[in-house]
């Protein structure tokens, strides 16, 4: 202990120690495999894009708002149709207005939640399916370039599905009056974000 108290080198060695920390690279005990890298890239693709996040949460919220069986039908419909868009994107089939479609999905579905729209189940499914093509295409265009395209596909389907589940979980609040206000407000925020995405403000 006395050595530490009287050590004249301590102030000089400390910056050296800090510099050494900055100079070092991270020590990774486990290297990621190709499949792992592809999965993580795909998984993060919908989660790191705010336009995707807003629309996916809105799908879950709307499903919860509509109640059974829509609460499950919409999250079933979305990935199925999204896969077709993804396949088209991977195959290089062009679809016009992808970014506009994604932004419009946040606006339209957000508005549906805000206005507590309760169309027939088939209409709700068609609306969600229509927008799913744009989201799938956006993810799919990057699929062939991924380290492992199949792992990438699995990643973005699961990532998208989990965002739906987040929306559904939040949508469960509609069981109370205050919760319904909160959910509808969230729909309004998502719709406003959709306007932002459409105009390029966000």
């Amino acid at each position: 202990m006395a050595i530490h108290e009287e050590d004249p080198l301590k102030p000089r060695l400390f910056p050296l120690f800090v510099a050494a920390l900055f100079a070092s690279t991270p020590a990774l005990a486990h290297s990621t495999s190709d499949a792992g890298g592809g999965f993580v890239t795909g998984f993060l693709h919908p989660i790191l894009g705010w336009d995707h996040v807003a629309a996916m949460i809105a799908v879950g919220l709307w499903g919860a708002f509509l109640g059974k069986p829509a609460v499950w039908l919409l999250p079933v419909t979305f990935p199925l149709v999204m896969a077709l868009g993804g396949a088209a994107g991977a195959a290089g089939v062009p679809i016009p207005g992808i970014e506009t479609g994604i932004a419009a999905s946040a606006l339209v579905i957000g508005l549906a939640v805000l206005l507590a729209a309760r169309p027939p189940l088939a209409v709700a499914a068609i609306i969600v399916a229509f927008f799913a093509i744009f989201h799938g295409h956006a993810h799919g265009t990057e699929m062939p370039a991924a380290i492992s395209p199949l792992a990438y596909a699995a990643g973005f389907v699961i990532g998208t599905g989990l965002l739906h589940l987040c929306g559904i979980a939040f949508g469960v609040l509609t069981r109370s009056k205050a919760g319904t206000v909160a959910v509808r407000s969230a729909g309004g925020v998502i719709a406003a974000a959709g306007v932002g995405f459409l105009t390029g403000a966000l």
């Binding site: 050296l16 050494a20 495999s33 499949a35 059974k68 999250p75 079933v76 990935p79 993804g86 062939p144």
Partner: protein, 196 residues
């Protein structure tokens, strides 16, 4: 004092680079390579996830015999691979199989126990035959054991997780998982010739 500077300089040389203590899917030996195959090969993982989701949508009386058949067939896969040098599961085939399995799971159709057992066995064989051909008996036995355990754990874990989720959220939660399997399968099938 000099000694301390020397120690400091020495410590500087010891700053860590990328210390890879384990290559996740490197030379782990035949048992662990077989065990990790469902995770290392997305095509295998996809078909196994498909059968797990399908099993989760069936009554438990149907699942029990199917799981036994799956385990037995998982053991035979590497042996068949050795005898007949079968090709590994490609992404297009895996995708088509996943579309069928996931499609059946979405609709939750109750299938005869025999048919489910045959499907489980076929999937285990498909997953089991993928991998390197091993010629020495010890490696083959270890690989076979690892593959069987890996397939069994993967399917059992996924089935159990889905079963619990369905018991809490309702049977339709399994349909959502089925739709995920179909979606991944459609895109896998749209990638002909691509590596899994």
């Amino acid at each position: 004092m000099r000694l301390r500077y020397l120690a400091g300089a020495f410590a500087f040389f010891l700053q860590p680079g990328t210390a890879q203590s384990h290559e996740a899917f490197g030379d782990l030996g035949p048992f662990y390579q077989g065990l990790l195959h469902p995770l290392a090969d997305p095509a295998q993982g996809l078909v196994l996830a498909g059968i797990a989701v399908l099993l989760a949508r069936q009554p438990v009386q149907v699942v029990r015999p199917a799981f036994l058949v799956l385990l037995l067939c998982a053991c035979f896969g590497p042996l068949i691979h050795l005898a007949v040098s079968t090709p590994s599961l490609d992404s297009r085939s895996a995708g088509l199989v996943a579309v069928i399995l996931g499609g059946v799971a979405i609709f939750g159709i109750a299938l005869p126990a025999g048919l489910v057992a045959i499907m489980a066995g076929a999937i285990a064989l498909l997953a089991g035959i993928a991998g390197d051909v091993l010629t020495d008996v010890r490696s083959l036995l270890l690989s076979t054991g690892g593959t069987a355990v890996g397939i069994a754990i993967f399917v059992l874990f996924l089935w159990a997780a889905l079963d619990i989720i369905q018991s809490r959220l309702g049977r339709l939660a399994g349909a959502v998982a089925g739709s995920w399997v179909v979606a991944i399968g459609v895109m896998a099938a749209a990638l002909p010739g691509a590596p899994a």
